[in-house]
Symmetry: C2
Subunit: 331 residues, 2 copies
Amino acid sequence: MDPILVEVTRGGRVESVHRGAVAVVDADGAVALAMGDIDAAVFPRSAVKALQALPLVESGAADSLGLTDAEIALACASHGGEPAHVATAEAMLGKAGQEASALECGAHWPSYDVAARALAASGATATALHNNCSGKHAGFICLACASGAEPAGYIQPDHPTMRRITAALAETTGTVLDERNRGTDGCSIPTYAIPLKALALAFARFGTGTGWHPDRAAAAVRIRAAVAEHPFMVAGTRRFDTEVMQAFGARAFTKTGAEGVYCVALPDLGLGIAVKCDDGAGRAAEVVTAALLQRYLGGGVPERWAHPVLRNWNGIEVGTLRATHLSGATR
Amino acid sequence: MDPILVEVTRGGRVESVHRGAVAVVDADGAVALAMGDIDAAVFPRSAVKALQALPLVESGAADSLGLTDAEIALACASHGGEPAHVATAEAMLGKAGQEASALECGAHWPSYDVAARALAASGATATALHNNCSGKHAGFICLACASGAEPAGYIQPDHPTMRRITAALAETTGTVLDERNRGTDGCSIPTYAIPLKALALAFARFGTGTGWHPDRAAAAVRIRAAVAEHPFMVAGTRRFDTEVMQAFGARAFTKTGAEGVYCVALPDLGLGIAVKCDDGAGRAAEVVTAALLQRYLGGGVPERWAHPVLRNWNGIEVGTLRATHLSGATR
């Protein structure tokens, strides 16, 4: 039974609670903090996009196509579909000699509601470029094209490009990834259930390169620097990852995944963090991640994320979200 | 510890789970089904709008202002902000001699995303009429005006109109409602923490009138008939309450509340149901409510709600939501 990690209050009472598990692991695999079942396998969803972007960089594909740091950051993104995200994804595809029609992620309206309404007001409609995963998919297509592969079908598990991406995920997490632990993600690529502890280890090493081939370690350095330089690209306006990395710079790499997942690298401390909220609540995963950043980095999380307040439609404070147990947990 | 009520699956694995409590009670207060802690007090939020609409009807205010059944249904609504909802709320205010500026619920964009984008495309912006609670608030203003009260400040706990509404809620739930169990709702009116069992009892009696003053019992009949006739008004396009009541007509009254609450009256069976998901997940409360409707009404829930399927942006089925334990629970 995973513990309660977050309480949602209203009028001084606890209205709702979120349970979950937290693994904090160093680059040698030693567990620094465990709450709940950290051996349970969870679908990391979009939280591992940075690991899935490693082949794009370590293969030399990013350099051969002249991808910019902003474009590399977008390859790790769950973005809001804002104009800069859309333009950057389109530019990546252009460098691969492709167009938006090559994207196999499906179309959806921008997840940032202001951007969605602006798009509607312009008389345009949603395309695959607005899909929050369009940067990751553009990166996959860049990898395929730079490798001389036909990009069509790149979302399939047995496409040569997807095999390389899955191999990187298997190697960095030390996990066997096959049809037995495979599901399909929102953007149609495979997602694999991986123990929370293994995800934390992968992100510890994403921050340190420990035990990795030098090319892969160098790719991680490049990706972390790109995201630290362009945190807007990995998420967007009013988003946790963007605002937290704007505050911490290269000291923290954070990435959300659907269904209450978070993965974090703290390079200076040599730690990796993986969070899964049992109920899939993103709001809870953000609160837990903020509390862990406060704990390990000694503060600095933007107030809006460190101490979230629930306000109603008149702007009146009606409640809070607060992390429980984390401040008192054994490191 | 409340049990797991809903599992969310992906690729044949359980990806997330939702815990919660369920109370099914008859009109004499006998418990027909209990799962989890049904004595715990929960904020019912919008799930009790029909109880809060009783004074509007039982006082004669609705008739004196000539409110239609569609308008009475909207007074019980958490609507999507679609054009018909907005027009109906405005018409209610007009009958009270008021305008949209009298609404104290705050403005927000239509919760139905298609309606929000259409509004943006029209060049207009969101007003309080688009607030999902605008019908309830229009009903409160109608009650105030028909009673000769000044509507301004009607959202305050000590406003004479809100006192009447709170008294109806206290009487129907048999619960003391005061500052000790009070919070503020999203639309700025008070919400009171009430035991789940008491909410279920109130809805059993909302379906039967058992033990209620004849004027109140008649008001419940009128409200139920109005909602059964106009289920679009209580929610909107692609919404659970609308589609389920379109299917069941007067055999089921269902109403969602924020943070994973559902209240249901089954008049023919003399039962009331109250559901609270611990984590506040609306998706889980819908699945649980659908399973309970299947159980007690012998099927008939629209397939999309009875067996929800998760599809990704390419329309591929990637998982399911399924109720656990409910089919095997002791009645």
